[in-house]
Amino acid sequence: MQRLIWVIGAIAALAAVTVLNSMPAPEAASTGAARAQHSLVLTGSSTVAPLAGEIAKRYESAHPGTRIDVHGGGSGRGIADARQGLAHLGMVSRDLKAGEGDLTAYPLARDGIGIIVHAANPIANLSKAQLIAIYTGEFGNWQALGGRDAPITVVHKAEGRSTLELFLAYTGLKNSETRPRVVIGDNEQGIKSVAANPNAIGYVSIGTAEYDIAHGAPIRLVALDGVAASSEHVRDGSYPLARTLNLVSAAPLRGLARDFVEFARAEQTRDLILAQYFVPLAQ
């Protein structure tokens, strides 16, 4: 049995040596400025993160020796990290607010927020006033909107999500005035909640909804004030509930960060934006 201890000890020692060997020299690690020359950290909106990650991969392969780390977590995190210097660039899926004048925004793409219901729901169009009435609990039954006699299950976004902020800005509601039955975090979660409940209503990114509808999710995008919720209408600006996806920075851009932002906003990333179901900015 003594032998077993030796074997385990030897494996542990080997593992430790491998790990230590693969670590950079302490000097290289501690001088953050030196690392920052060739590496960039982006944090923020989980809506933007998959797109930024793909752009980062293309940038890395075009510029060997550079490293771009992309972390999700929400637009709030992007703004906080950019201000504290934890990230070189923040990802924010809305326009900057008045209190955020210390940051500069670099738009990447557009995204619309679509109202979704279950595919079995006959409602095809909602006005802004009807939407407000649903979310404040004034209409508790689909019958009030000419639908079936069934209670409305209101699906709402959690605090700190820019989709929520945009929704509140459009409807003019305060979050405390809404009467949600279900509160969710991410886009796909919203789609799953509505797909699973014939009486639910929710709002998610139009690109995500279009993708999931094309792949058989039993949901439908509802027109808003007579304008169909589609990528088309987000691009031409006619759809009222749309947002801009931004990279933000607290300091003037220099070096790698400036180069990356230029790369991300150029024509060559258009296919990546479309592949993530967002809408490229009008060229």
Partner: protein, 284 residues
């Protein structure tokens, strides 16, 4: 007549107990069946070694598997010695019912009940910002270690306490020093309990998402050092199913791999524990 009454009551109770067991088993079969059914197609060597592409919709989970194992290694390398030390102090070097021991135990129980996101935010402030580790596997592993420690300590302590008191008396009677008694008799006898604690800890660490989002981060590149960010399997599954339209299919593949990883770790530790406790004490 009363006898028959008892009989029917007996049958009813038995039926109740059986149906409860069947419900639990059915839930388990449904859950694992669903994951195996939808994930089995992805269980190929390519999927296990290739890098993810198109935000995870294509490609594999190679770098993510490496990051997950590195996170686990950091977590265990820190948590095991610390946990064992504390458990030894609690079980062998303090009287069970002193105020100090009670206070330590109470705080451990409270720590064990704290939601993991709180540990995550603590790690985000302490390891990532104050210690300047950045979003890295090291920061994530240390956060996991903090989270797993209370579980580990309590399980190890229970393992040590399960060793019959006669062993300690026999050691004392033989004139063994305390260190020798620990090394030769008490620890080997407690190994099954210690391994059970380690498995619990590993299980919790592997399944963890919330504590890692803000510490070890999302980067799905192959890490070249412990100071690189690395995406854990659980975060990959979360991201694929929640943020990436069309990521569901591969999320099932990743979930299956995570489940198999846990099974392998559990089986290995059970085997180790059996082997160890069979010969260890008598062969000394």
């Amino acid at each position: 007549m009363p006898a028959r009454n008892y009989l029917s009551r007996d049958t009813a109770a038995a039926a109740l107990v059986w149906s409860a067991a069947v419900v639990v088993a059915a839930l388990f079969v449904w859950l694992t069946g669903d994951i195996v059914w939808r994930g089995a197609a992805y269980l190929t060597w390519d999927f296990l070694t290739a890098a993810p592409q198109d935000a995870g919709r294509a490609g594999g989970i190679g770098p993510i598997l490496v990051s997950t194992l590195l996170l686990l290694a950091v977590c265990l390398a820190v948590a095991l010695p610390l946990g064992l030390g504390t458990a030894l102090l609690l079980a062998e070097f303090t009287v069970e019912d002193t105020a100090f021991a009670r206070a330590v135990r109470r705080s451990l129980d409270i720590l064990a009940g704290i939601p993991s996101i709180v540990f995550g935010l603590f790690g985000y402030v302490f390891f990532v910002q104050v210690l300047g580790l950045g979003f890295s596997i090291l920061a994530g592993g240390l956060t996991l270690a903090c989270m797993v420690l209370p579980l580990l300590i309590r399980a190890c302590e229970a393992g040590l306490r399960a060793v019959p008191h006669e062993y300690r008396q026999a050691c004392a009677a033989l004139g063994l020093s305390r260190g020798a008694a620990l090394r030769r008799v008490l620890l080997p006898a407690a190994v099954p309990g210690l391994l059970a604690g380690a498995v619990l800890g590993v299980g919790r660490a592997l399944a963890e998402t919330a504590a890692l989002i803000y510490t070890s981060g999302y980067v799905d590149r192959l890490p070249s050092s412990l100071l690189d960010s690395g995406r854990a399997l659980s975060i990959h599954i979360f991201d694929l199913s929640m943020n990436v339209p069309g990521g569901d299919r591969l999320a099932y593949g990743a979930a299956l791999v995570l489940m198999l990883l846990l099974l392998i770790i559990n089986a290995t530790s059970a085997w180790l524990s059996r082997r160890w406790s069979q010969g260890r004490i008598v062969s000394v």
